[in-house]
Structures are given as C-alpha cells and as structure tokens.
C-alpha cells in the first residue's frame, strides 16, 4: 500500500514567517547520508528545474551510474573521492515548516566539519546501514551530538533493501542504538526503517515495510522543533565591546539567556561591580522601550561609569554566574597533536578569552570504541574530562544551569582545537557580590570641582627606583594643595606597609599590588580628588590594566631618569643591597622595567629642577582638562 504524503505545501507569501528548523544528517561514512538528502529533495519537490537532468547527463558523460548523492557533491574534490568533506546546506519544505538540511561528512578525518555542521542544528538524523549496523563513527557522532547539546535525534536505518526489509534485523539495530543514545541522555524521537535509494520510508510507508508502524522520515522531520531562545533562564549578556562613537558609552552584546530592560539592577562579572541599566540603545530609533529577550543583539548604557570590558558577563543582581579561575569540562578534541596534562591553551567562553593550563585529564576515551580509557592525554577525535586552571578569572555556569555560558572552546596556535561542556565551576575567592550595595556619594561631582577648581584624576608616576617619583609626587601634592585643590598621595611603598602588606614581589603579587593601587586611586578620582600614585610599576601590562580601571581619568607620567643616575642616588639603599644579592627581584638592576610608550608626559629628573618638573605636570593637567585655572605660561616666567 502506497501512502505518499504530499510534502511541498505552499508557504506563506514572504517565505520567512514559517518556522524554520535546522537538521543535521550524521552517521558512519557510506551509510547513505547524501543519498537520503538527494532523495528527500526529490520527494519534497525541492529540486531546481533541470538539476536532476543536468546531473544525470554529467554522470553519463563520466560513465558512472547516477547516484542521488551526486546532487550534493557539488565540489570537484568530493566527486573524486566520493565522500562529503564539508557540510552542505540544503533547504526544502515539509507540510508545516521550512527545513534546512545540513549534510555532514561521515569520514573520521573530517570530524571537525561534522561538528561545524551539527553545532548549528536544532535536531539530527542519525543514519545507520542495515547491513553494517552500528559502527564506530555512528557511536562517535551520537556522543558528539550529546556534547554539542543536540537533544532531538531521529535514527534512520538505511539500505533495508540489502537485508530484505527484515524486521528482525531492524529491531536488532534499533535496540543497540537506542541503548547507546539513552546512555548518553539522548532519547531518539523515532527509529525508522528506510531505503533511501528506492524511497521506502522516506516520504511514504511502502508495502515492503508494512510491519513498521512509526513515522516516515518526512513526518519525523516535521516533528522536530526549532530550538527556542533561552528566555526562561537567568540573564546572561556577554559583553562584545564598548562603543564610544559619540557621547554615549554603549555596552554591546547578545542576550544569551533571560531578558533585560532599562532600570534593571545588574552585576558585571567576574569583577562583581553593580550598576543600573539606564537605556537600551538602538538604530534608527533610540532608545528602545520594553523588555529585550534572549537572542537579541543589544546595546545598553549604564547609570555610572564603570570599568567594563569585552568578555565580562552582565547578569541580574542575585542571579549571577560564578567567577572562577578553575573549570572542569567534558571536551572533544580535534587537533592533530593530543591534548596533554600541563598543556598551555587558550580558552574561549562567551566573549572572554584567557590563557589556561590543563591541570589534569581523566576519562579520555575514543567515543567510537568506548573501551580503552586513559588519563594522560586526549587524542584527536577523542573525548575526555579535564581540569583547567585559568590565567584570568572569568564568569561561567555549569552547562546544566546554562548551556550558553556553560560551554567553551579551546584554541591552539590561533585555531579552534576542541570544545566542550562546563561540568563544574570552582568559585573564586571573591565574595559573591549579592550583598554588596554601593552607596553613592551625597555630593555631586560639580559641587566638588567648584570648590577644588579641578576635576578628579589619577596621576600615575612610573619609573625606576630612585628616579624621583616620590619627590615629584610630594612636590605636586604641595603645589595642588597650595592652589586650593585636593591632592592625595598614594606611595607604592607606603601602601605596601598596610593595605598591600600581604603581597610580595612575584609577578602575580605585583599585578595585584598595581590593581589595588589603581582601584583606590580611581575611587578617589571619581570623588573629585587628584590621586598621585608613585609606584615603580615595571610591567606595561599592569599599567595598561590600571589605565583601564581609571579609564579617562588616567594621566601617566614617565619619570625617565637614566638608570645609572638612579643607582648613584639610591636613597633607600636598595641598589646597594641588590648588588650584594641581599635583595631579590629588585627592579633596576635587572632588565625588567618596561618603559611606557604612550604616557601623557615624560620627565628626566637628572635634567631639570623639581619645581620645573612640577610646573610641567601642572601644565599637562591643565591641557588635558583636569585643572580649571587658565594657566599663565609658567615657562615664560622663568
């Protein structure tokens, strides 16, 4: 009994309002993926006019029998090898929806292409040759569908004509694959016996499979649902960039889950800073009213100037992701070189990237074999669980809480080499910022600046030990104070005696020392004071971080006194001690001072007097909008 389903039903006029579902076809090489796709296109009346005839004539010219798979093997390279090497996308219509079929290669060598294709899919068709049964690549693809988060899987048992449409053989394969998939947490939506070459089970239930009661392939495709945006979950907005094209400071990104609106109280992770959304910006019309939901690319402005950068994640206060330097993940590996313990990698999670080290590897296994487990390395096309130590903290969720912020990719030499799911997140040392409610100052900035005759600023003096930073800082402090201003001196050594007493001189500790100095100084500057920081701050990267924290308030002064003069001054006796070896890690003797390249001012104190150098700093502050007074040209007075 032939029961052909009329498949191609006219769509709505603009062709774009019907639900669209993307389905990837996966399975072992030569089990008939391309043939099934070709057949589906034909059965649903989706082939362009003349395409079938053109390919039939090409086959005849080449002396090959026509195969349905030729429809897809559009590339020369593929025709030569007879295998699909990259994903191809084909569109057709079923009764209720537009289908984008992604044909992924079954060859193990091209697993990276299978993953590229499958990661875009809402659902999957897993194809198995009835004669060959479940093979290693069948299992591997099943496992990867699970790792990629593709939950809807329909299984197709193809080439039933080769086993005389045996119901017993079908049951055997059905039981084996169902057990495998269920073990991975994926329940197949259907298992369908077909012959893609002859058409049985594709669009119609033919007499040869009359013992089968389930849906045809077309019906099974119709039952797969488009993936929905994750609106019901907590807000996660990974920051892509901060734009300052005009007087707006727009934080741009895509809402991966949840929703947001102007007025929402948000927390910026991993730093834990709190702000309110002032507006949602748009174009051509702006601001945009109403609630913005998951899936939208948005731009927002905040009610206060905070240091925020690409890679941060915006969440609602009280419902934020964890900040962490340690992640456990289940990953698949695609790189030629196996991933080993202690490997140095680049991790991308959301829009954040950070260097990282693989601390431990467990349960490494070939998902095709599912036998030999090892714990030293993960070979190409294998999967495993790894512990990762991150060079910088990031915001993440376990994938069971949020599939978007719970997945990561790994890059090696600038190329994506693997990816996987976040199993667990070790929270960092920072207190969860739920209880932190910043109290704003009672004074407006203009009240302060009217009294002080200056805006707030961070004047950052950097240079070798004994280059004259503290001397200049004290002179500047005195000068500004005499003029009625409000300077505050933050000397690196002074702060190390108290606030930073827990820090040593390792690279990590120096970074933290600078971060604290910058945070304190920025707080003072935001409250109208001029914070004068005198700190060796040898690392260019640390100073760049300080500049990012203070943002537009930052004024760097490079005290560029030559090294030999610094050593001859040596007021604290550090150079002498370092020369005798009594002082380790002393900047000045080694070569570890990185001179600034973009400082607002450079001063060599060996070439000028202290008042003269102070004048110059004052002029720079006036020119860059910190000091209000119309300065007479002090140089002219000399």
């Amino acid at each position: 009994m032939n029961m052909v389903i009329p498949a191609a039903i006219a769509a709505t006029p603009n062709g774009t309002t019907r639900p669209q579902v993307r389905i990837v076809i996966v399975g072992h090489v030569d089990h008939g993926k391309s043939t099934l796709v070709g057949r589906l296109l034909h059965e649903t009346g989706s082939l362009p006019d003349g395409k079938l005839e053109m390919l039939k004539s090409v086959s005849a010219r080449r002396g090959m029998p026509f195969e349905w798979s030729f429809l897809l093997d559009a590339l020369q390279t593929e025709r030569d090898q007879g295998i699909t090497i990259d994903t191809t996308q084909i569109r057709f219509r079923t009764r209720s929806r537009d289908v984008v079929l992604i044909d992924a290669p079954g060859h193990a060598e091209f697993l990276r292409n299978m993953i590229t294709g499958a990661s875009q899919a809402d659902g999957a068709l897993l194809i198995i040759d009835a004669l060959e049964g479940v093979r290693d690549q069948t299992r591997r693809h099943g496992y990867l569908l699970h790792l990629l988060g593709v939950k809807q899987v329909a299984v197709v048992v193809n080439k039933m004509d080769r086993v005389d449409f045996s119901a017993a053989r079908f049951e055997e394969i059905k039981n084996e694959i169902s057990a495998h998939l269920t073990g991975l947490g994926v329940t197949p939506t259907a298992v369908i016996p077909i012959s893609a070459r002859d058409g049985d089970g594709v669009a119609g239930r033919t007499a040869k499979i009359r013992w089968y009661r389930g849906p045809t392939v077309v019906e099974a495709l119709d039952a797969l649902e488009p993936a929905r945006p994750l609106q019901a979950l907590a807000l996660r907005l990974p920051v892509q960039a901060i734009y300052k094209f005009d007087d707006r400071r727009i934080v741009a990104g895509r809402i991966e889950s949840g929703s947001l609106a102007a007025g929402d109280e948000i927390v910026i992770m991993p730093a834990g800073k709190i702000a309110k959304i002032r507006t949602v910006e748009g174009w051509p019309a702006t601001p945009v009213k109403g609630v913005q939901t998951a899936g939208r690319s948005v731009g927002i402005t905040l009610d206060r100037e905070l240091f925020i950068e690409r890679g941060d994640v915006i969440a609602h206060v009280g419902d934020s992701p964890r900040d962490t330097r340690r992640i456990r993940a289940r990953i698949f590996w695609l790189h030629d070189k196996p991933l080993t313990t202690d490997a140095s990698i680049l991790v991308r999670l959301g829009t954040r990237e950070t260097r990282a080290t693989v601390v431990a590897i467990e349960k490494a296994v070939d998902p095709g074999e599912l036998s030999s487990v090892e714990n030293k390395s993960i070979a190409r096309n294998h999967v495993g669980e790894i512990d990762i130590s991150l060079a910088h903290p990031l915001a993440a969720d376990p994938y069971t809480d949020n599939p978007r912020t719970g997945r990561l990719v790994i890059e090696v030499s600038g190329r994506i080499a693997g990816g996987g799911l976040v199993l667990s997140v070790d929270a960092g040392q920072r207190a969860i910022p739920v209880d932190i409610v910043p109290v704003e100052s009672a004074l407006r900035p203009d009240e302060r600046s009217a009294r002080y005759r200056h805006n707030g600023a961070v004047v950052w003096l950097t240079g070798l030990p004994a280059s004259g930073k503290s001397t200049l800082a004290r002179a500047l402090e005195r000068r500004l104070f005499s003029n009625g201003g409000s300077p505050v001196l933050l000397d690196g050594d002074t702060l190390r005696a108290g606030l930073n007493g827990d820090l040593g001189f390792s690279a990590v500790d120096r970074t933290e020392n600078i971060r604290r100095l910058a945070e304190v100084a920025t707080h003072l500057a935001r409250n109208g004071h001029i914070a004068i920081v005198a700190a060796v701050s040898p690392s260019g990267e640390d100073r760049a971080a300080a500049r990012r924290i203070a943002d537009d308030l930052f004024r760097e002064v490079y005290v560029a006194t030559p090294a030999e003069i610094c050593e001859s001054r040596d007021p604290k006796g550090h150079y002498a001690k370092a020369r005798t070896g009594a002082l380790q890690a002393f900047t000045g003797i080694g070569n570890d001072y990185q001179p600034p390249t973009n400082s607002e001012l450079t001063i060599d104190t060996s070439a000028r007097s202290v008042p003269d150098a102070t004048d110059e700093i004052e002029r720079m502050l006036a020119k860059t909008g910190i000091l209000f007074d119309e300065l007479v040209d002090l140089a002219a007075n000399i």
Partner: protein, 301 residues
Amino acid sequence: MHLLDKDSAMDQLRWNGPTEGSLVGQISTDARSHQPAMDHLDALEAQSIYIFREAFARLKKLALLWSLGKDSNVMIWLARKAFFGRVPFPALHVDTGKKFPEMYSFRDRYGEEWQLDLKIEPCPPLETIDPTLPPAARSAARKTDGLKLALAKYGFDGLIAGIRRDEEATRAKERVFSPRGTEGGWDVRDQPPEFWDQFNASPPPGAHLRIHPILHWTEADIWAYTKRENIPIIPLYLAKDGKRYRSLGDADITNPVVSTASSIEEILTELDGTKVPERAGRALDHETEDAFERLRVAGYL
C-alpha cells in the same frame, strides 16, 4: 519600498537622545512590557549583528565589500544597526568599470548619504587574466585580481562579504570566518572547525579573513528584510517590460530573467513559486561545471 529616486533614509537617522525621563530612579519596572517575540527576520538580524561585532572586536583592519547589490545593501544596513548608525570601517567597491549606470548613481548617492568611508578600487584589464578560463569567468576574475590589489594596497586583515549559503553549492560550505591564504586562496579541504559562534580570527601573517555576516540568509529573507526596513534598492531589480534582474553583476555578463514582479511584495510571491536558481542570469556560473569553483578557490567571492 524605498527606491533610489525616492526619499532617502536620512529621516530615520535622527537620534533621539536619552531624555530626563529615561534616567534611573524614575523608571519603574512593575510591569515589564515585553517586545513582541522574535520572528525569523529578527533572529537573522541578531545573528548578523553578533558577527559584525565579533569581526570588529577581533580584527585590526576591516573593510566591507560593497557590490551595490541587494545583499551588500542589507549588510550595510545591518552594520549600521550593529554600530548604532555608522559603519566604522571602509566600504570597498572593487570596480570592474562595467556595472550598470543605475548602480553607479546608487553608489554615488548612498555612499554619501550613509556617510560611508567609500574606497573605489579599479580592476586590472582583461588581458592580464588567465586566458584558460571561459569568457565570462575570465571577465569576472578581474574582480578577484582587483581585490588582491586592494588588499595589498590597504593591508586589510578582514574583508566582510555578502555571500549566502543558499546562492550556490560551494558557498554552502563556507565558514562565517573563513581564512584565506596569502594569495587570497580558499582551502576548502582544510577549513577549521567553527561552532557555538566561536570564530577563528587569527589569520597567519600576510593572509586575511573573509567574514560572512549574512551567510545564513536566503534570497527571500533579503527581500523580506529590505521591505521591512525600507532599505533603498536599485530599480533594476524590479520588472520592466516583462523582465527584471535577480542578481546584479557586470552589465555584459548579467542577464535579466522573465518576470512581472514590479514590487518587493511581488518578488517575494514570485520567489515562493520559482525553482529557477538566483544566479541563473549570471553567465559565469554556467560555462563549465567547475568554473565557479575554480574562481572561488582562487579567491572570488
């Protein structure tokens, strides 16, 4: 619909800055008024904006290839949405000198009106092109060489191109961020994996990336979006005397198709019933089975 000879989109560009009423403290969120659920075009738009912003964040020197056609106009529109009204990188027109006059007047008008940083680069003469290519492909290959010259001149590390997967079989295999060799060539056999919107954005020195923000759109999507957003188009796309252009290239190797569609609505209805491929009017696609693939491997769009 918004034609070249009608009012421009300038009136939509005025920015309504934040008002006192939008300041925090005066906002109550007791009833969150939801935007209508995202439809298909909203989803396409959001994805394209995401791609634009990733490209802008991760590459140093970008340019957008503006071919003046419907697809690249949608691209410019999406870029303006992504960057709140301005396109923060040059629009590059690699000019064969053989486009339709309507295309040049469109370029002159909207290059200015959209405040594009327009860079017009010529193509080398036909005599310099591989003579073993069939005539139309050879003619089109001038553009590939013009592009290489422009790349060498400006040192772009990323080129944003408006190709779509549904246009043509080899384009279906493209990545969103697609690395090109130092010669501009595409190694389809060794494409890096790309998933979860994580893109490979580190081309080796001397090489560049092609970025494809509308790879996932279809021809019908482009028209439906053009209509919804009121994006200007070149009138050649609309039927005149029973014919219209479905795709615009060089005047000498592009032919109109039989059509009565004189509005975007009618184009959409026409597309819904057609089985004729979009590039049917492009001679270079049909000369030999592999001519187009050869062009693409060599760096053609």
